[in-house]
């Protein structure tokens, strides 16, 4: 009987011991949204459409991302660049670029498919909407602003300054 | 004055030679080249209408054969053979020197419109390499001295306003 009561007392102390141990440990809770947890190296968050250093858009509107997308979340419509209105260095740019974030499964296939490294899944993950329509991110929302000191697109350029169909890429060995 | 008006007889002679008019394209092109020094746009169009074909096909023939010229060339066409035997005898270096002397690149014409330099394949005088042709006339065993003499002679000939001939 006594032995039994003693055994219970030990168990309680053991339990309390665990509790007190944790009192002195560093808390794991993060004060989101003031604080962020560090990202994994290959974390895939919301997409961004990138620009070249000169501020021109990387996207050429080829729609390979849309073709690769297993969730059918991307929609691209292309148009032709002119010297009057130039968006990207090649012949073609994306007039419409939309991603439905409700459909997107953040697999990154679009990133893999992109021949110009225009679409990149960045670290941003705070996606919340009050309406299904708001889940469709348009090109304006996805496109990053031009680098410091660079003019926004579309631009008027000297005729003949861009004569390649796609931006010159490095030797794809 | 159209080509047909200038060289009616020759053109008809060539047309009569072939069962089909189209076959006469090449001789007619030579006539045009003789007349104008090179084959002009208008000449191509006229020949196309003479032999009843599309001008595109005439242009294709002019483009294919290197001895038809669709660009205006100098009064003296200097063709330097750079094929193997001539090359072994230093034709490439010779060609470079010629170009340097005239201040042009192969395929170009001097500013005074006198000389056009071209590197060509074997012209069949390998035993006397390096060999050049000036307006299809052979000059053999060339070096820079003999070339300079030749140029001098040609300049004098030009200054004397000799009538221009392709023969």
């Amino acid at each position: 009987m006594i032995k039994e009561a003693f055994g219970k007392g030990v168990a309680i102390l053991e339990g309390l011991g665990t509790v007190f141990k944790h009192v002195f440990e560093k808390p794991v809770t993060v004060q989101f949204p003031e604080e962020f947890k560090p990202f994994a190296e290959r974390f895939k968050g919301r997409h961004e459409l990138k620009r070249y250093e000169n501020g021109l858009e990387k996207c050429i509107g080829c729609a390979l991302c849309a073709a690769a997308c297993p969730a059918d979340a991307i929609w691209v419509e292309a148009e032709e660049n002119t010297d009057e209105e130039r968006y990207s260095p090649g012949e073609r740019y994306a007039k419409t670029y939309e991603i439905n974030m409700l459909r997107c499964i953040f697999c990154g296939y679009c990133e893999d498919a992109c021949p110009t490294e225009a679409i990149v899944l960045e670290k941003h993950y705070e996606l919340s909407f009050t309406d299904r329509r708001d889940a469709i991110y348009t090109k304006e929302m996805l496109l990053v602003p031009p680098p410091e000191g660079q003019e926004d697109t579309p631009r008027k350029v000297e005729p003949g300054s861009f004569d390649r169909s796609i931006p010159v890429m490095e030797d794809p060995k | 004055m159209s080509l047909l008006e200038r060289r009616k007889e020759d053109i008809e002679r060539h047309l009569a030679k072939y069962p089909q008019k189209q076959s006469a394209v090449m001789p007619l092109l030579y006539i045009a080249q003789e007349e104008y020094g090179y084959i002009t746009e208008e000449a191509m169009e006229e020949i196309a209408s003479i032999v009843d074909t599309d001008v595109t096909q005439v242009r294709g023939i002019v483009g294919f054969y290197t001895m038809y010229y669709s660009q205006e060339k100098g009064k003296y066409l200097i063709q330097i053979c750079t094929d193997l035997p001539c090359a072994l005898r230093g034709a490439e270096a010779f060609s470079a020197k010629v170009c340097e002397a005239l201040g042009i690149q192969p395929g170009e014409t001097t500013d005074d419109g006198l000389f056009t330099v071209e590197n060509v394949m074997c012209i069949g005088a390998c035993d006397r390499a390096p060999v050049i042709q000036v307006n299809f006339k052979f000059y053999e065993n060339m070096d820079m001295d003999s070339f300079n003499d030749l140029i001098e002679a040609l300049r004098r000939e030009h200054d004397a306003m000799q009538p221009y001939s392709h023969e």
Partner: protein
Amino acid sequence: MADTVKITIDDIEHEVPAGMNLIDAAKLCGVDIPVFCYHPKLGHDGNCRMCLVELGLPRKNRETGEMELAWFPKLETACTQKTCEGMAIRTTTERVTDARRAVLEFLLSSHPLDCPICDKGGECPLQNLTMAHGPGTSRMYWEDRMHLGKHVALGELIFLDQERCIHCARCIRFQEKIALDPVLGFDMRGRKQQIVTSSTPGFNSIFSGNTTDICPVGALTTADFRFNARPWEMVQVATICSHCPVGCNMSFDTRTDRLAGGRTTIRRVMPRQNEAVNEIWICDKGRFARHYMEHEERLTTPLVRKGGMLVEATWEEAIREVAAQLKAAGPNIGAVAGGRLSNEDLYALQKLIRGQGSGDLSAYLPNATGGEIAARFGVGVGTNLKYLGAGDAIVVVASDLHEEAPIWWLRAAAAARRGAELIVISGRETRLDVEASQSIRCAYGAEVATLNAMLGSLPKTAVKAGESLDGMAEAIVHAKEFTADAALKAAAKTIAGAGNAVIFVGSEGLTGEASRELAQASANLLAATGHVGRANNGLIIVWPSANGQGAADMGFDPGFGPGYQPVDKPGRSYGDIFAALADDVIKVLVIAGADPVYDDLTAEESIRKTKGFIVVQEMFLTETAKLADVVLPVQSAAECEGTYTSGERRVQRFYPAVEPLGESLPAWLITQRIGEVLGQGAPSVSAAVLLAEIGRNVPQYAGITCQTLAKVEEQFPDVGGEDLYYGGTSFQNVRGLGVQWPTLAEQVDAPLSVAPAQAGEVLEPADGEMIVVPVTLVYDTEALFFKTQLLHQRVPLPHIGLNPADAGRLDMVDGDLVSLTIDDHRVAAAAYLDERVPSGVVTIPRRLQTQGAPLFATTAPVVKLEKVEA
């Protein structure tokens, strides 16, 4: 089947036709030999070297005297070989795969890596074959790639990308061998070789778009499809071209677009294979003139005239108004229907008008008639112009096929090149005359006399085949009254001796009655010589619009009811309808899919004069619609479904591709809703149900249903589908080859008869007058066609064709203003001197002059207008 031989492909023996191209033969056996330059329609060229195989041929061993297989020491190009007994090839050995890899590495040495933006990307033979046979890496120096022109315009329709071109010469060969417009060529040679065109305007051919289909890379692309969509994004919807009576099978490639506000839009038009109709080709008009369908000027709501103005109204209001007018007019009504309406539209319209007791129904343009003769002596079931060749005859009478039905022109010319006798009978020289073995010039109006003279000149033995036919004896006796010169006799003899004979009956300059007689004269000639009632024999009427045959079949002919059934009281002809309208005898006129005010000099007057009620069913506010009392917006052929009947009597089905624009409705539904108010019964549920009704009431269409029209069978050469590399990007036909309905001549014991063809009067111009002939151009300013901005540059300026000799007499030079006065209407345009116009004749292109053109050949004073100095 022809003789067959046994060949061995990869150690498996196959039986294939003798003398067939080896690539085709292998294809038949299911063995793919990759090619770039070879094309089953173009033949071999042997320049791409992609089809290298190990080849063995039987050879006699000199020692033993026995036959043995001798393998060639080097690889051979399969495309330059023809099958023969004992031939053996190997297509999968290491040598062959190595060679293919090497060829691809070479072709790609300077090919740009711009597949992501290339319009061909995704349906590109070079991409596909590289994936299948190519090297994974390249040994070439990246810096050594050629940088060439990327966006070189070969004219405003077709662009050339010089970097992508692999110099297979498919486009050049197509233009030379098939389109017969040798406007493409190679300039320079070696690495500098480039495709060039020197024609004016650039790439001057009405078949230019086809080169983009057969281009095995993205070197040739159309301006219409530039960056318009990726091939895999589009949905193909089968359709039939609505521009001419050939009835080319096409595909609308559609996509739902954000930029179009979420609407499905047509991104491009592609040919769809139908070996019996258009093979794999379409003309540029069919390919590019599609923009009217989505044009902003399309009518989207009904318009009703109120206080002199056309104002928007509801369907209910418009239909009630039309029905009330029709009811009040009783049988004093009529209808004029254009030939781009579907069979269903036409059937519903004639049912409405006949239901009210009137038979005044005319097809538009009214020049071509004779549907009932085509129903008896038309080309037999299974006709395919592809099979006409040496020993056969094709006659083209009173038609400029190149302008009126381009694909028929192409196929007739191809038959002539295969050895068929091509006889062209017309008032002026046309492009077909170049290919013709016999060109016969006859005066305008003397076409019937010419054909009669040909029939009359035939000896008794030559007309044996038709002797037993009712009326043939009289027809021959009648024909003997016409004298034939040596040329006509020779032509008649050619036809009589031909294995197969087809006559294309045109209607250039002819009135409706004259063209019926011409069809009769053609039928007499064919029936007499035994060229009716079987495949590849008979006549084809060159209708002025896509569904002219269908309109005649549905009873848009004053003499006949639907299916050429006799009517109690013949209706009025086109001219009489407008005359009756002007006199207020006809109180309601329904004009559907036609624009007579724009095309016809005299129609406007009648419409302005009448107190009657004009109802127009149209897509646009045309000149006719502007004068109407009610305008009912109809759907385009891309929005509704229906069937067209081609000139070869092939009923073909088209499918809805895009959502209807605004409130527009199918024409048949509008008509039937009006009929419903008039107590003619509830509208059909769908066009398919209406087609079934046509099948019950029009004998020729018995058994034709949506199901039978959708049937397909395997076609050779197979193009499209997985075989892009082989035949180009023309589409495989999976939605129906159509049904050709049989003529009476093909049916046993059918009541068949002929009748003498009455020759009309040849026009006799008075002093100072000339014969004025309206002619058709492929590119004109017709309301629908001219909505396509892309083709505007190809439309000629208004002009009047004139023989240089006549011009000299009138003291005129090219470009002078010339004026004609036709029935008090003055038509003035620049003179275009053309030696092909006969002396004493002026030609007026139809639908080009803003003042209109006469519908039929006529005479008129021709004067030179002094230029007014500005």
